[in-house]
Symmetry: C2
Subunit: 302 residues, 2 copies
């Protein structure tokens, strides 16, 4: 990767991160912008933020990661439920006021590219990233390159069915990996499980609480993580058989609860994945690195 | 692809196919050898067959597809349940008597490469092949190249779990796609379903019979194909979300029953796959082409 700074922008649902990132994925300088208003208005705020961040520095280009269905070739956000956008030609809207060339991609794809450089130091050829948050996203680096598929939407690993009779997912399907592992679903199941056992969970229960409770030995919290690990293990086993990767990285807020879900994840993988891909893959857990998206976006600039 | 003939060898469990194949994947000449005996003995038979097939012609190289877990870099068959082989250094054993260079790969991977050239004429960039037979295999052409993964076993698409409570699979897991769609499993379920409905299926029932019965309106046979389509649709929907391919090709003996299973497959895909990858992909069914494996093996020679 060419030496020099890149401007990265991570367009999320509630805020935008902007950072100057060097060729090794180190954040040199950063700024946060609130997401509000329509695309044009947002782009105007971004321009102002870019000027104050750049302070006259001239990066090699700009990379933008957007949460949603992105066409990286045309630079269009087809659909972003988080931003409430539909068919927004973001690349065209950003044609002035940002260092060129400009690249646009899905945020999880960008995060995979960031993790590939920062967490793995590029020492992987076939890499599967799973981001565990409200949604469950995925990104793929195959044969050393980002894999985007025919129209830029590859890697929706959270929307692989792990149980057709499972809970309804936000995407309209049932039993998606996300419907077991996504934060909201995890918490909902915990609330139900507390109710089933005649206990009441407090309002606003979070995965962090569940991690805390499990550490203190609470059987319900422990059962919740066990079930989550089983579903995640079923998914990961499939990814091992499909991709034969050298590395699977689990990242996001719930990664902190790894001690509670990894045993059942590994058990599932040992039953469901073939021996050769199982031996070839390191399954790693890394705590949430909120900057992976913005770093990866910046590194989209070659 | 360079102009000229290549020698292809498809090493299956019951017989070996050998063919001279041109750069466009056309079989110019072919021969069949019975599979028997240990690796060394088999290689001796292959040498004799090659001499009689080549008749002095000098192909550009040899490609070998083997049913099983293959290390394409070292040219070793790690494990082949069909051939009863374990750690057989097939490339080393074939170092004399065959046109060089020599390439070894998994048979479904080779078949995907064959289908990519023959069925799709190379007009695809991201292609998922599913071979529906006794086993359910898969092969991947991603960004225009064969994808093999870290240790050569990528594309085991038949061993992705589509229902954790599903039937036991030959691989030791439960609810694999193969456990719903593989010939043996399909027939077993049909027999059980006939029994449940107080009818007796004849001995030696085959998927071909079930296709025939369904065409005549038999409700059990129709239900069997519907269930098969549902499981296959769940798998295919996942592959669309994962790979965002331009083409999914279903091939193998049961492809002939497509009219019976495709409606439920498509229904499942329309519920479970995202709109963009669903629109981007053609899901094609092609009748069994027994030569795809040997053609693809030959075309492993660049």
């Amino acid at each position: 990767m060419k030496k020099g700074l890149r401007l990265g922008i991570d367009l999320g649902g509630t805020s935008v991160k902007m950072a100057l990132v060097d060729e090794r994925g180190r954040v040199v300088d950063g700024i946060r912008v609130e997401t509000s208003g329509k695309p044009r208005k947002l782009v105007r705020s971004l321009k102002i933020a870019a000027v104050s961040l750049l302070k006259g520095r001239r990066p090699l280009g700009t990379g933008v990661g957007v949460a949603g269905d992105v066409d990286p070739v045309r630079g269009v956000v087809r659909f972003s439920p988080n931003l409430h956008w539909k068919n927004v030609p973001i690349k065209a809207l950003m044609s002035a006021g940002f260092p060129k060339p400009l690249f646009v991609d899905n945020d999880a794809t960008a995060a995979a590219w960031g993790a590939y450089h920062v967490d793995l130091k590029g020492r992987s050829k076939n890499f599967v990233l799973l981001t565990l948050g409200t949604g469950v996203g995925g990104g793929l680096v195959l044969d050393g390159k980002l894999y985007r598929g025919a129209t830029g939407t590859a890697g929706e690993l959270g929307h692989v069915c792990v149980d057709p009779d499972g809970p309804l997912c936000g995407c309209g399907s049932t039993g998606c990996l996300e419907a077991f592992v996504g934060n909201r679903h995890l918490v909902r199941w915990a609330m139900e499980e507390y109710a089933r056992r005649g206990r009441r969970a407090h309002e606003g229960l979070t995965p962090k609480d569940l991690n805390h409770f499990a550490r203190r030995g609470d059987p319900v919290a422990k059962a919740v993580w066990k079930r989550m690990g089983r579903a995640l293990g079923t998914g990961v086993a499939g990814f091992l058989n499909i991709f034969n990767p050298d590395t699977v990285l689990l990242t996001g807020g719930v990664a902190a609860a790894a001690p509670h879900f990894m045993p059942s994840l590994r058990r599932e993988v040992s039953v469901r994945a073939f021996a050769t891909p199982r031996r070839a893959a390191s399954i790693l857990v890394s705590p949430q690195n909120n900057d992976l998206g913005v770093i990866g976006a910046a590194l989209l600039v070659p």
